[in-house]
Amino acid sequence: MPPHVYLLPQLVERAAETRPDGDALRCRGQALTYSQLYERASALANGLVESGMQPGDRVGILLNKGLESAVALYGIMLAGGVYVPLDPFAPSARTEFVIRDCGIRRLVAGPRTTPALEALARAGVEIETVFGLADHESLPFPLVGWDAIGALPPVPPTVATTELDLCYILYTSGSTGTPKGIMHTHRSALAWAEVSAAAYDLGPADVISNYAPLHFDLSTLDYFAGAKAGATTTIIPEEITKFPASLASLLADERLTVFYTVPMALIQLAQPGILDEHDLDALRLVLFGGEPMPLKHLRRIMERIPHAEFVNVYGPTEVNGCTHHRIDAIPAEDDEPLPIGHPYPNVEALVVDERSEPVPDGEPGELLIRTPTMMRGYWARQDLNEGAFYERTPFGGLPEVFHRTGDLVRTGADGALRFLGRKDRQIKSRGYRVELDEVEAVLLSHPAVHEAAVYAMPDAEGSLEIRAEAIPVSGDVDSAELVGHLRRSLPSYAVPAAVRLRESFPRTSSGKIDRLAMQADSVEAPAAVRG
């Protein structure tokens, strides 16, 4: 019997023993076998420990998608560290916030992210060591290049890590105006790798897509369930994800067997002319999640890939995946939303009312989830952690801890859960999670803005588009200036195309901003307002 796996990098260690020459990862025509991945990650771990890194230290990954991303995340974990993916396309102020928030002192970076490093240096961020770069005169940080790392022992250092320790922190939109870090442990991440690899029968013959960037939690199935199965994960470069025709070619050329993506990508692939010329015979499973998939688009993509199984995967980053819905047949013409389905084995789901009492089947309520795939909590945010969990205390006096998802659901007659909406103002736009209150808080921080309102409207692709309106302090500010202000703090997917300036807002009888009235008004006057 093979030794038990307690820690994520042990998945790679096992695969390096059982299929050392099998490709762990592919990207842009290059590959890393499991043995190469394990050796390179081990060498990086030695470099991190030599630089003074202590177990539990957070290490940032500031890389474009590529084979180095995998070496970085396993190397950091083999050194006993916690990896924190930094979005290479985020505004510098946001990256700086994350680095300061969780105390990152070491980074793994690459040639394409040196402009981001230069911006951090200008902002006075202190970094002790940057790995993955050598000889960059413009950077004031000590650098250790891949050549030097490659000269270190390909055997990991000895560190005392348990499955209860943190392995990564993913930052997501926070309603108070700054992002919040979702902490996962080796145990919670491994539990998701085990559950998902088993649910989808992943094996060494599978070629799994990595569509999502590292800072987006879809990537954890691609990397960790992939390694659990000893499968190959094909990293899809960022630019390909923006071009459906190029993405279709990659799906066919790489002979992907499992494609895990967001609804928008499937909607784009289903457009006429995109998949016609491509042979997708190898594709056996299409997983999608992140936001609701409109049925009319699902029908079109299922007709174009009729032999593949389609599964709607649901789960906030806080709990990884927790329910899924296997689609047996192309849905008929009724346009009832697709269910989010049934809990995975090892998951308890409760639907509760405002007093946290279970509601009768069929009634709407908030979804609470109890699962080993659940996060440890939000990094250094006791205020949020107090509201994020529900403790049920029936059993031997010890609380059973559930995560409050904030998602409103109801159980259908077939027992499958349906997603109804949010308790708060979190939305999904093109698969990205955005707190409308964060956008509003940043807009309001502009000195020329007196009042701000941000809301979402359905877009042409079945997702949501962010709209913003503001009452200026005086007349001398325009939309372009305010959009620029938002772009300096927020990721591009959270920035509205324009800010509509008005002299007053519609109000409710109690004087609150009436965002519903704004939405109704916005249907009649679409966002043709350019600054």
Partner: protein, 86 residues
């Protein structure tokens, strides 16, 4: 041709990048380097279709055609020509 390029440059630098301090040049690989995201590509297509009165079919939305403002202008030029010829 020159004016197509100038219009695309203006759209990218003002409408897509305004306020970030970023200034794209005609030959910068603005999608590959992440300057323009997927929403930006969608907005670019909308701009091309309304400003130049051509249809941009989904199968033409490729890295080759959208690599830089120069390649986008060349693509648009060809679309306008083929529309005029038909």
């Amino acid at each position: 041709m020159e004016s197509t390029q100038a219009a695309l440059l203006r759209f990218v630098n003002e409408d897509l990048l305004g306020g970030t301090g970023g200034a794209a040049g005609s030959d910068d690989e603005i999608v590959l380097d992440g300057t323009v995201d997927s929403l930006g590509v969608a907005r670019l297509i909308g701009f091309m279709e309304s400003e130049f009165d051509v249809a941009v079919p989904a199968e033409d939305v490729t890295i080759e055609n959208f690599r830089s403002i120069t390649t986008m202008a060349a693509y648009l030029h060809q679309r306008v020509e083929s529309k005029a010829a038909s």
